[in-house]
Symmetry: C2
Subunit: 277 residues, 2 copies
Amino acid sequence: MARIISGPETGADGRERGALPPATQGGAAVSSASNDHSLDRLIRKLQSIAILSDKERQALLSLPAKTRVLKAGHDIVREGDKPSQCCLILNGWACRYKLIGGGRRQILSFHVPGDIPDLQSLHIHTMDHSLAALSESTVAFIPHESMRDLTTRFPNLAAILWRDTLIDAAVFREWMVGMGRRDAFERIAHLFCELYLKLQAVGLAQSYRCSLPITQVDLADALGLSNVHVNRVLKEMREQHVVTLRGGALVIEAWDELMRACEFDPTYLHLEKGAAA
Amino acid sequence: MARIISGPETGADGRERGALPPATQGGAAVSSASNDHSLDRLIRKLQSIAILSDKERQALLSLPAKTRVLKAGHDIVREGDKPSQCCLILNGWACRYKLIGGGRRQILSFHVPGDIPDLQSLHIHTMDHSLAALSESTVAFIPHESMRDLTTRFPNLAAILWRDTLIDAAVFREWMVGMGRRDAFERIAHLFCELYLKLQAVGLAQSYRCSLPITQVDLADALGLSNVHVNRVLKEMREQHVVTLRGGALVIEAWDELMRACEFDPTYLHLEKGAAA
DNA sequence: CGGACAATTGATCTACCTCAAAATTGGTGG
DNA sequence: CCACCAATTTTGAGGTAGATCAATTGTCCG
C-alpha cells in the first residue's frame, strides 16, 4: 500500500499510453494561466450532465486557472486542509481517498479530465479526505473567489455545479451498494461499466476501450478488496473474454455480458445524452 | 417490521419526550399546511450546519408544507420517480435504500427530524434510489417550486442547502470507508457515534442516549452485514458494557471506548457547533 | 391465546484475506 | 543493446470474518 510517493524512481508507471492525446503532457511545473483551450475539458464535462448557454460557456472559459503537472502518487489536497481554490483535472487520473489505522486506505472516487474533484471545498471548508494524482496529471487550480463570483453572476451555473456534486453523491451511493451487497466480480464489473461510460460521455473512450492507468492495489482499495483477490477476478474476466485490463488500458470484449453480470443500470450517472451503449 | 414504539415498558428510552410537541403526531393522513412550528425542525437542523439570518429563518418558516403521517416501512419516493416536491422529516426515522437482484438491499443513509432526504431531487430529476419511513413518521412535503423560489430570493440559503447535500455526501464517503475497510465491530460502533452526534446536534439526544427505532435487519442492510452477524456483534458490545441497543433505544455506556474502538473523528459531519463529546 | 415479526443461538460453509515467494514489466544506466 | 531495478502482477497455501441455514425464544397486539 505504498502511498504518498512523488519520488523520482516512481517513473516506472508509464501509463496513459495512446488513449489520451499527449497535449498538455510532460513539461515543467507551473505554467501560465488558461491558455488555448484547457478549460474546454470542463465545458465538455459539464455538457455531459447539463445544457450550457453560450454566455455560460464564455464565463467558464474566462475563469482564471493556474496549470500544474503532477507526478503519479502526488497529493493535491490533504485531509484537514482548508483550500482556497478548486482543482480541475485537465489530463490524467486522480482519486479521492481516506486513510485509517492499520495502514488501511479507502479510495472514494476516481476522477478524469474535466472533473473538479474538490468542488465541495467551496462550501465545506475543511477537507475530510485527500485528493491525489493516480497517474502523471495536469491540473488547473481555480480560486474559490472566482468560482463564487461565477456562481453569483450565473445562478444557473451554480445550479449545474450543485448538480455535479449531487451526481458525485449518486456515484458514492452506487459504490456503497457495491461494497455492501455485491460480490467481487460484480463489483469490479460495475466499476468498469461506470468508468467506461463516464469517459465516453466526455469523449475519452470509444470502441469499448479506454485508458485506465491505475494499479491493482488502487482498484482493490477502491472496491474494498485485497489486491490478490482483485488479481484473481481480473484473471477470471480475462479468461472468460469479458474484459482485459493490461498496461493501463481497459478493453471490454463483451459489453453486454459485462453489464448483465453486474446488473448495470446507468441511470445513476445522470448523463445528459444517454451514453449507454 | 413492527416498530416497537411507546410500549409502556419501553419507557426506559424516553425518546422524543419533551423534544417534540405531539402536535402533528398520530392522527389521520393529510393535515393542514405549515401550522404552529413544524418547520422549526428544519431551522434547527440547518443551524446545526450553518448560520442563519433572521430573514432567512423567516423565509424558511413561510415555506408551504403538507404534512402526512406514514406507517413504518412505507415508501415515500421510489427509484425511477420524478418528484415535484421535497420531503422534510418532522418526526420518526427514514432511510434511503436501493434494491438489487437476489433480494439484496443496501440502505444508503438514515434520516431524522429536520432532514430533507431528497433535497437532491431539486437538481436530479430522476430518483436513483428509494426513500422509506423506518418507523411511523410525520413528513412534510414542500413543492420544488417553493424551494426554487426560496433559493432564488436567498442565494445564501441556496448555499446552505447545497452545503447540506455536500455533508450528505461526506457521510456517504465515511460509510464507504466503513464498508470497504472496517470490520463489523468498528462499522457498527462508527455508525452509533455518527447517529448519536447527529441527533445531539439537533437536540434529539443527550446523556448518551437516543432513540434508534430500527431493526437489526435494517442495521445489517445499512452496514453491508448479515442480520445474524449484527446480532452477534451487538451482543458482544452489550457484554462489554460499551453500548446497548434495546427496544428502539440506544444507550452508550462507554462513549470514549466506543469512539476509540472505531477511531471516530467527527470532522466529516461538519457540524457548526462542535457537538463532539 | 394465536399470529407475525424481531432477536437469539447453534452449526456449517465459503468468499475473500494474509503471507510469501516467483514471475513480469517497463524504465534506466552503461 | 543488454543487464539491472523497483514496482507490479501472479500464483500457491492456509486461515478467518462473516455468510447461510435452521431452529428456538421473546415481544407486541388484536
